[in-house]
Amino acid sequence: MSATTLFAPDRGSWRAQARKYSAIARINLQNSLAYVWNALGQGIFITLFIFVFSQLWSATFRAQNATIIGGLTLNQTLWYFVWAELIELSRINVSGQIQQEVKDGSLAYTLGRPYNYLLYHYFSGLGGVIIRIVFVLTFGAAVALIQVGPLETFQLAAMPAIVLITALAFSIDYCISAGIGLLAFFFEDTSAFRLIYQKIKFVLGGLLLPLDVLPDAVQDIARLLPFNLVLYAPSRLFVAWDNTQFVEMLALQIVWLAIIIGLLALLFRTGAHRVSINGG
């Protein structure tokens, strides 16, 4: 049995696998509840960001004497940022932990355990995501409500689809984040990659500006890359639902997810071959 396969060899039936990984998620959820103060901190962070964005965009709409910028009203723009920040602040930020495990060698011990290393981190991270979503959404929505009132274009019927797109966005982001962590097999420190990825999402992902506001040439590049599918796609659909756009974005997410999983598998396999276990 090779310890380097991305998808674990026979480790029980699908039902047993599902039970195992849901147990991992549940345990991490309980752990996160013990550190609920940290999630509260994320809530405070979104309060800060949404407040700053509300000041910036209110001033911008006034200065431009416009009611719509980039196809969105001020009300939609602010709620767009609530959803985008919700994803960014609640995401499974695993790259630092994976880097540490690669560097200190503890990854070697997990290779022989009856779970898949990357799936373990994914489901373990999901537990924390749920807590953070609750806090971030509560605080972010409160600020947006105070600043611009409820989302005028909210469609309850579209929410299951938006949740699906958001869940896929979390998965794409997780795979990229895990990939950055695995780069520790080849680089001493991956923090620079982490920071650069974060800032690329800020600009080309649509966290600081909805893509529709960007110059055409930059928009074209941004739409070609997967980063907009992490933040822009779910946030845009949340504030301006469109059936055609939904199908388009969903298809793109699935294609990109498949590509990124493939690359992640390759990276993991190549990296794991470099692991030497000397007992201990």
Binding site: F45, Q55, L56, E188, A192, F193, I200, V203, L209, P215
Partner: protein, 264 residues
């Protein structure tokens, strides 16, 4: 006076050692600094795109943003290139790692703060200098004021982060909270100050002194106002005093982690 000179020499010696230590891992040091430089550059692209589309917001144009980024980046870079342990104060208190400094015959706070250099912030430092080149302000007085204001902003950044870290003396591990507070300061300092009015402005001049890290230095360099420069100096001295008082007060509550060790 002799004692002060001895302590300054000690801090300079620590800085030299930190630099030498980082240079041992030259590739890692340079890649981290370069990574931070690129990181700042990408963030700056946001403002380029924003002002390309909207031209002016509350009295700020792209020229002011260049200056704002130059001062904040150089200030932040100077702060943590030299006082690299300031962001770790909360964690060190919580883990009882002050013991090492308490056993040595040197003032604890400066010894603690200057015992580490953060290679990432060298990227901030260089970004600040390069961003200034885009402002087009090359008269000697403006350059002098830019450098002076950046040093004062650095003092405020390091003092604020350290003071926030002292929360660990009260609530246990305040690592996350000191990070949030420092990020609140840096976030507000990087936006045009005209966006904020009323109570928020008061908050940014006092509790989280973001105004003294970004807006006030920008106005000093633009207007050459000596009154504002005096105000910035008062803010910097006050932040050091507050940090020292809070740290001394906290040390009395500090409980040893039995972590006495020898650094070889």
């Amino acid at each position: 006076m002799k004692r002060l000179r001895a302590e300054i020499n000690f801090v300079l010696h620590l800085i030299r050692l930190n630099l030498a230590s980082n240079m041992e891992y030259r590739a890692s040091f340079l890649s981290q600094a370069l990574g931070m430089f690129i990181n700042n550059g990408i963030y700056f692209v946001f403002w380029l795109l924003f002002f390309d589309r909207f031209k002016e917001i509350r009295g700020y144009e792209i020229q002011q943003i260049y200056l704002l980024f130059a001062i904040v980046a150089l200030g932040w870079g100077l702060a943590f290139t030299f006082a690299g342990n300031a962001p770790l104060v909360a964690e060190m208190i919580a883990q009882g790692r002050l013991d090492y400094y308490l056993t040595l015959p040197r003032p604890v706070l400066p010894h603690l703060l200057f015992s580490r250099m953060d290679p990432f912030t060298v990227g901030d430092l260089s970004f600040g200098v390069i961003a200034y080149l885009f402002t087009g302000r090359f008269d000697p007085l403006s350059i002098l004021l830019f450098l002076g204001c950046s040093v004062l902003a650095a003092v405020i950044c390091a003092s604020f982060y350290t003071t926030a870290g002292c929360l660990s003396f009260i609530i246990g591990n305040a690592n996350q909270w000191s990070f949030y507070l420092a990020n609140t300061m840096i976030t507000f300092s990087l936006y045009p100050f005209g966006l904020f009015q009323g109570a928020i402005r008061l908050f940014l001049y006092t509790i989280v002194p973001a105004a003294f890290v970004g807006a006030v230095p920008v106005e000093i360099v633009e207007t050459h106002s000596l009154e504002l420069l005096g105000l910035l100096m008062v803010a910097a001295v006050s932040s050091v005093l507050i940090m020292t008082l809070v740290f001394q007060w906290g040390l009395r509550r500090y409980e040893s982690g039995s972590a006495i060790n020898v650094n070889i």
